[in-house]
């Protein structure tokens, strides 16, 4: 089955290449290179236990992308990133467009799930840190929590079919459906292992024969010349272990309102995850009845982005993240743990492609750390360039 999926992807890529080369002579090839780089300093001054489980100090992210349009219908994109875990390949895909509305994407890409991922590049989102549900290493207590609900970006191998349709001039409906390798569980089968899920050490090969499948639908309504409202829902279901015994399901909804240059965004994302129960000593709580073999991690953020002048944007964000259910033996989390975070930040455009980002975060954890603390504060100062 795994061989079949790989064969199908290779055939689809070859098919798209041949189609495109027939569609246009090679002279029509256009290339564009784009990139971004961000250096961020994270200061978590008061909470020493949080500091031991957070990247405080300098972090750097670099992304380089080449987009190649072979013809009107066929394009290829490759993106290389350098971040906290070395060089990675978050994007290496071919796109083929059928008619005006439907596209096929094959290769390595982040499948359509949630709204934030489109803006995950540090040059695209205004704060240094991502929303908690999508955190990939800038949260406090990140190891206890195993990051957010789904660290963004989440590149994977597979194929996605998507479409964009307009109803008149005011309503846009987008849809996407995909099959990808899916995420991998940790060695104990308790949670997802994000590093194993994307490391090139395993040659980006799936650990089981069952692809993860997902879909997203987005409806955008133009409210006026300079305002629109976007509503989206998405889900993904897959199996993270080699034996395909365990399951995870992501589900989310998002709302974006733009009025002139003001953006208001609210997004919810949840994950229901079953875990291995054959060895009860691995778990902190006794597994009882049918409700004992899964946990739910979920959260939301609400943010407002408001330009204050031609060069300064203000961002206010509230984040919530919770995890309900059994935890690994020895984990500092309880069976009902939550985090509330408030962020105030601003960006200052030194020039068009170069921005200073500064923000303050206040944290409240429902679990006490070993010193009995539940509050923490963090600061970010970063510089991001687009080129």
């Amino acid at each position: 089955m795994r061989a079949l999926v790989v064969l199908a992807i290779v055939l689809a890529m070859a098919f798209a290449t041949v189609l495109a080369l027939i569609a246009r002579p090679a002279a029509a090839v256009e290339r564009n290179f784009a990139g971004s780089a961000m250096a961020d300093y994270h200061l978590a001054p008061a909470n020493h236990s949080s500091r031991s489980t957070a990247f405080d100090g300098f972090t750097t992210e670099l992304a380089l992308k080449a987009a190649i349009d072979v013809s009107d219908r066929f394009s290829a994109s490759v993106k290389v990133c350098y971040g906290c875990h070395g060089f990675e390949l978050p994007m290496a895909h071919l796109d083929y467009r059928f008619g005006t509305a439907v596209s096929l994407r094959v290769g390595r890409f982040s499948p359509s799930l949630g709204a934030f991922n489109l803006r995950h590049d540090p040059a695209n989102h205004r704060l240094s840190s991502k929303p908690l549900i999508y955190d990939m290493g800038r949260m406090l207590r990140m190891r206890e929590w195993n990051l957010g609900v789904l660290p963004s970006p989440f590149p994977d191998n597979g194929a996605e079919l998507s479409g964009t349709h307009w109803i008149g001039e005011t309503v846009q409906v987008d849809w996407a459906a995909y099959a990808v390798s899916g995420f991998k569980s940790d060695a104990q089968g308790i949670d997802l292992d994000w590093q194993r899920s994307r490391t090139p050490d395993a040659y980006y090969v799936d650990n089981n024969h069952r692809p993860a499948v997902g879909a997203r639908v987005v409806v955008t309504t133009k409210l006026g010349e300079t305002s629109d409202l976007t509503f989206g829902v998405s889900a993904q279901h897959g199996s993270p272990d080699a034996a395909s015994k365990l399951r995870y399901t992501f589900f989310g909804g998002d709302l974006t309102l733009r009025i002139r240059r003001t953006n208001v965004r609210v997004e919810y994302l949840g994950r229901r995850q079953t875990f291995e129960t054959s060895d009860p000593t691995q778990l902190a709580y006794r597994v009882a009845g049918a409700r004992g073999d899964f946990f739910v991690k979920q959260g939301l953020y609400a943010e407002i982005e408001q330009p204050l002048s031609g060069a300064v944007d203000l961002v206010l964000r509230y984040d919530f993240l919770s995890r309900n259910g059994n935890v690994q033996a020895g984990s500092p989390l309880s069976h009902r743990s939550a985090i509330h975070r408030g962020t105030v930040g601003f960006t200052y455009a030194i020039e068009r492609g170069l921005r200073l980002k500064a923000s303050t975060e206040t944290w409240h954890f429902t679990d006490e750390d070993h010193r009995g603390r539940q509050q923490a504060v963090g600061f970010h100062l970063g510089l991001v360039g687009t080129f």
């Binding site: 695209n124 997203r216 955008t220 010349e225 974006t256 068009r352 600061f379």
Partner: protein, 109 residues
């Protein structure tokens, strides 16, 4: 320490907002454009800043009209872009002008 950093941030913010005044850094100053293109520029500035800053298109180095057509339709197909066919026409009208200016600048240097 925390109070100090918070205060420093507030002072920095106030200074930065104060100094930046009406400077329009993210996009272009519409008054620098021919009057008949200003409305098209506003459509571009609104639609193309939903997911990233305007630096992405304005500093992309793309000066080829055909390439812009492919690029803008690619962005139109991004979920939730809110870019309709009539917006594409207006955005391309502005980008044609902008590209011609960029080409002229390049040739002059």
């Amino acid at each position: 320490m925390i109070r100090l950093v918070s205060r420093a941030l507030v002072v920095l913010l106030a200074a930065v907002v104060g100094c930046s005044g009406a400077r329009r850094v993210d996009g272009l100053d519409p008054s620098s454009l021919p009057p008949d293109l200003r409305a098209d520029y506003e459509v571009f500035a609104h639609r193309c800043s939903k997911c990233h800053t305007l630096a992405r298109p304005l500093d992309s180095g793309i000066t080829n009209d055909q390439f812009w057509r492919i690029y803008v339709t690619r962005m139109q197909r991004m979920p939730g872009s809110g870019i309709s066919d009539s917006d594409v026409a207006r955005i391309l009208r502005f980008l044609r002008h902008y590209s011609a200016e960029q080409r002229a600048k390049k040739a002059a240097s």
